[in-house]
Amino acid sequence: MKVSLAELQAYGRLAVRGLGLPSAQAEAFCKALEHLGAAEVDWSEMEQVFAPVDCAANHDFRSDFRVLRDAPAALDIVLCRNQPVQLGDVDCIGLLQLYAREIEQAFSISIEVARTDDGVELIPTEGRPRNTIPPVRIELPAMCYERLTKLASRMYVPETDASRLAGAGAGLTDND
C-alpha cells in the first residue's frame, strides 16, 4: 500500500502508544520516519517491532520493541558522553539508523550504527551529518500496515451515546 509520510507517522504515533510507550517515544519514532527517504528500509524489522503483544499483561518490554523505548535514551548518552553506546539484545539496525539520522541533523554530528555480536552499537564519528530528503510516497507492506493500524486502534475510545452527543461539537443534523 502506498502511503504518505504523514499517514505513516499518524499510524506510527498511535501504534507506539498502543504498545504502552509514552508520547515522547511515539514522537521520536515519527521523527525517525522522516529519514525513510534516505535509507534502505528493512520492513521486516518494522513488522517485528510492531508484532502483536498484550501490553496490559506484559509490561516487561520484549526485546523486539525495546528499541522504541530505548533508542532515544541511548542516543542521549552518545550525545552527552561522545562515546559508543551498546544496545544489547536489539536487532533493528535499520530502524536505529533512522533514529541516529534525526540526532545527526539536530546536533550536526555523525553517528555510525554497527551490528555487534550481542546487539547494536551507536558510535559517534568524525564527519558531517548526512542529508535527508523526505520521502514522497512510501510503499508500506500489507503486514506492516495491518500491524500498525491494529496497534493504533488500541488508542481509540469506544463510543457511547453520551460521547456521541456531548463529546464533540455540531449537531447530528445541520440544515439551517
Binding site: 504518505s4 509520510l5 515522547a24 550525545l79 460521547s163 455540531a170 443534523t173
Partner: protein, 547 residues
C-alpha cells in the same frame, strides 16, 4: 548586504499573549494566511479560469478551475452531489456532503478528473495520491442558498439583510492537507512560491471553493448576483475539536505565527509620527470595523453580550483616535490606551494597527512556517532545567492537580470515524487512552520527579522516559517563547473554543459564531476579491455590506 530590521519596541509578554482567554479573543490580521495567499496571487498576476463546467440543471456534477502561482499550475476539482437533509451534519462523523473538493497539483487529465470525482465524495473513506494537495467538503447553508436561487430566478437580487445574517453559501466541514488519506505531504510543496507558508494550500482551496459556490448559485438562479453581494458571500466553516490538539502538537509553528504578529505589532508601536494618509486610513478602518461589529450577531446570548461590550468599547476607544494619532508615538499610545478596555477590544486594536503598514510587516509572513523542530538536548544540566521550568512555566507549576477539577477533562480519539472528542475523566471511561494535551500536568510531574533526582539529565530521561516530552517543552520555551498555551487544557474551566478561535483568526476567519465551548462556525473570505478582482487585494480586512 542584508537590510536592517525596522526598529521595534519590546514584544508583549508570552504569559499575557498566550493566555487562553486572550487567544480566544483573536481577530484576523493582514498576516493571516488567507490574506497572505491572496497577496501572492495578486503579485504573481494569477488568473483563475473555469475549464470544466459539467453541472446539471439541478446543480449536481463537477467543475474544474485552473490557477497558476509561482510557476506551478493548480486546479480546484469540485464535485456537487445530492444530499438528503438527514445526512447533512457538520460533524466529522458525517458520511456524505453537498460538495467535495480537491486541490490538484497541475492540470488534471480527464482520467484524473474522473478518479477525483469518484474518490472526493468519499472523503476519509477514499484513497488519494500525491497529485492531490488538499481534500475538502462543504454543506450548503440551506436557507440562504435557497433564498438566493429563488430571488435570481424571479429576476431579483437577494435581500441584503438575509445575506448579512449568514454570509456564505456553503461551509466547509473539513479542509485536509499534509498527507491525509494519501494526499501529498506538505514537504512536496513547502518550497514552492506562495504555498510555502502555513496552510497556504488550504487557504487557496478555500478561496477557490468560495468562487465555485458563487458560480453554482448563479447557475441555478439563471442570473448574476450583484458584485457587492457576491463579494460579501464568503465561505463558511464549521470547526470542532480537531484544531485544538494541532496547536499543542505543533508548538514551534504556533510560536512562529505569534512571533510574527507580535514583531509586527512591536514595529508599528515604535513608529514616531505617521503620515496623514496613514492616519486617515486608520480612521477609515476603525469605522469599517465598527460597521462589521454592527453586522456581527450570533444566537448565543453570552457571545452576543461580549460582542455588545466590544461594540461599546470600540466606540469609546476610536472616539479618541483624533487625539491619539497626534501623539509622538501614536500606535504605541493607541495600544496603551486600549488596555483599559476588554481583551477583545485590545486584540481588535492590535489587528487594526497592522493594517496600514504592510511595508513594515508583510515580510514577516515568510517566517511563519516551521521546518526542523527543536530536539531535546540531554546535555542541559538538571539545575538549569529546574530553573527554566520555574522561570517559564509558572502556569504549569502553580496548578494543583490534587484538586480533581484541575484534571476534570481528557482529550481522546473516538473509534467513531476517529472523531476528536473531549470527555470527563471522573465520569466517563477512556481516560487511560487520552491524548497528551496535559502539558501543564506533565511539566508539574516532571519537576516533582526531578526534586529527588541527583544524577544528570540523560540518566533522568533513561529512568523516567515518561518525562521526555515535558523536558523538551521546557527547553523549547527558552528559544520559542510563544510555543505553549499558558494554561491547563484538562481543567474543568478550559474552553476549547478559545484555541479554535485563535487558530481560525490566523487563517483569516471572522464572524465567529460559537455554538458551544466545543465548536464554532466562522466566515472566511468575506469581502475578499472575486476571481477577477485580484488587483484589489489590499482593500479588505473586516467586511461589511452597506445598506
Amino acid at each position: 548586504m542584508s537590510k536592517a530590521a525596522p526598529p521595534q519596541v519590546a514584544l508583549r509578554a508570552p504569559d499575557d499573549v498566550m493566555q487562553l482567554a486572550r487567544m480566544g479573543a483573536s481577530f484576523p490580521t493582514r498576516l493571516s494566511f488567507l490574506r497572505t495567499i491572496l497577496r501572492w496571487l495578486a503579485q504573481d498576476g494569477s488568473k483563475v479560469e473555469r475549464t470544466v463546467w459539467n453541472i446539471n440543471e439541478d446543480g449536481f456534477g463537477h467543475a474544474v478551475y485552473q490557477v497558476a502561482l509561482g510557476g506551478y499550475d493548480y486546479a480546484l476539482i469540485a464535485v456537487s452531489s445530492e444530499l438528503e437533509p438527514e445526512q447533512r451534519t457538520d460533524r466529522v462523523i458525517a458520511e456524505a456532503w453537498d460538495a467535495a473538493f480537491v486541490l490538484f497539483d497541475g492540470v488534471p487529465t480527464a482520467e484524473d478528473i474522473a478518479r477525483v470525482c469518484q474518490m472526493a465524495p468519499l472523503q476519509e473513506a477514499g484513497r488519494f495520491t500525491e497529485k492531490e494537495l488538499v481534500l475538502s467538503r462543504a454543506n450548503k447553508s440551506v436557507r440562504l442558498f435557497a433564498h438566493i436561487v429563488d430571488c435570481l430566478r424571479n429576476g431579483e437580487q437577494p435581500d441584503r439583510q438575509v445575506i448579512r445574517n449568514t454570509g456564505y453559501l456553503m461551509r466547509t466541514t473539513a479542509v485536509y492537507g499534509n498527507g491525509k488519506f494519501g494526499i501529498a505531504d506538505r514537504s512536496c510543496i513547502a518550497d514552492r512560491p506562495g504555498l510555502g507558508g502555513p496552510f497556504a494550500a488550504e487557504m487557496l482551496i478555500v478561496w477557490l471553493i468560495r468562487g465555485f459556490t458563487h458560480d453554482l448559485v448563479e447557475h441555478l438562479g439563471g442570473a448574476e448576483l450583484d458584485r457587492d453581494l457576491k463579494r460579501h458571500l464568503g465561505i463558511g466553516n464549521s470547526t470542532g475539536l480537531g484544531m485544538a490538539p494541532f496547536l499543542v502538537s505543533h508548538p514551534e509553528l504556533m510560536n512562529n505565527w505569534v512571533m510574527a504578529r507580535e514583531t509586527a505589532l512591536a514595529r508599528v508601536r515604535a513608529l514616531t509620527g505617521i503620515s496623514t494618509a496613514e492616519s486617515e486610513m486608520l480612521k477609515l478602518l476603525a469605522n469599517a470595523a465598527k460597521t462589521h461589529l454592527d453586522e456581527w450577531t450570533v444566537p448565543d446570548p453570552e457571545a452576543q453580550s461580549e460582542i455588545e461590550q466590544l461594540k461599546q468599547d470600540w466606540a469609546d476607544l476610536t472616539g479618541q483616535l483624533d487625539a491619539i494619532l497626534d501623539q509622538s508615538q501614536p500606535i504605541d499610545e493607541l495600544i496603551r490606551i486600549s488596555q483599559v478596555f476588554s481583551v477583545a477590544c485590545q486584540e481588535l486594536t492590535v489587528s487594526l494597527v497592522l493594517e496600514p503598514f504592510g511595508h513594515l510587516v508583510d515580510s514577516l509572513t515568510t517566517s511563519m512556517a516551521s521546518r526542523r523542530e527543536k530536539a531535546l538536548d540531554p546535555r542541559m544540566s538538571v539545575p538549569d532545567l529546574i530553573r527554566l521550568s520555574k522561570e517559564l512555566c509558572s502556569w504549569a507549576t502553580e496548578a494543583n492537580f490534587e484538586n480533581t477539577s484541575e484534571s476534570a477533562r481528557f482529550w481522546y480519539i473516538s473509534e467513531a470515524k476517529l472523531e476528536p472528542r473531549i470527555g470527563r475523566r471522573y465520569e466517563e471511561t477512556g481516560a487511560d487512552l487520552e491524548r497528551p494535551l496535559d502539558t501543564a500536568r506533565q511539566i508539574k510531574f516532571m519537576l516533582q520527579s526531578l526534586r529527588t533526582w541527583d544524577g544528570d539529565l540523560a540518566g533522568f530521561l533513561r529512568s523516567f522516559p515518561v518525562h521526555r516530552d515535558a523536558v523538551l517543552r521546557v527547553q523549547r520555551l527558552s528559544e520559542y517563547p510563544y510555543a505553549e498555551i499558558r494554561g491547563n487544557l484538562i481543567c474543568e474551566t478550559c474552553r476549547p473554543i478559545d484555541m479554535l478561535r485563535f487558530k481560525l483568526a490566523f487563517f483569516g476567519a471572522s464572524k465567529f459564531d460559537p455554538k458551544s465551548d466545543l465548536w464554532t462556525r466562522i466566515t472566511l473570505a468575506q469581502g475578499a476579491p472575486l476571481f477577477d478582482e485580484l488587483d484589489k487585494v489590499g482593500d479588505w480586512w473586516l467586511a461589511a455590506l452597506p445598506s
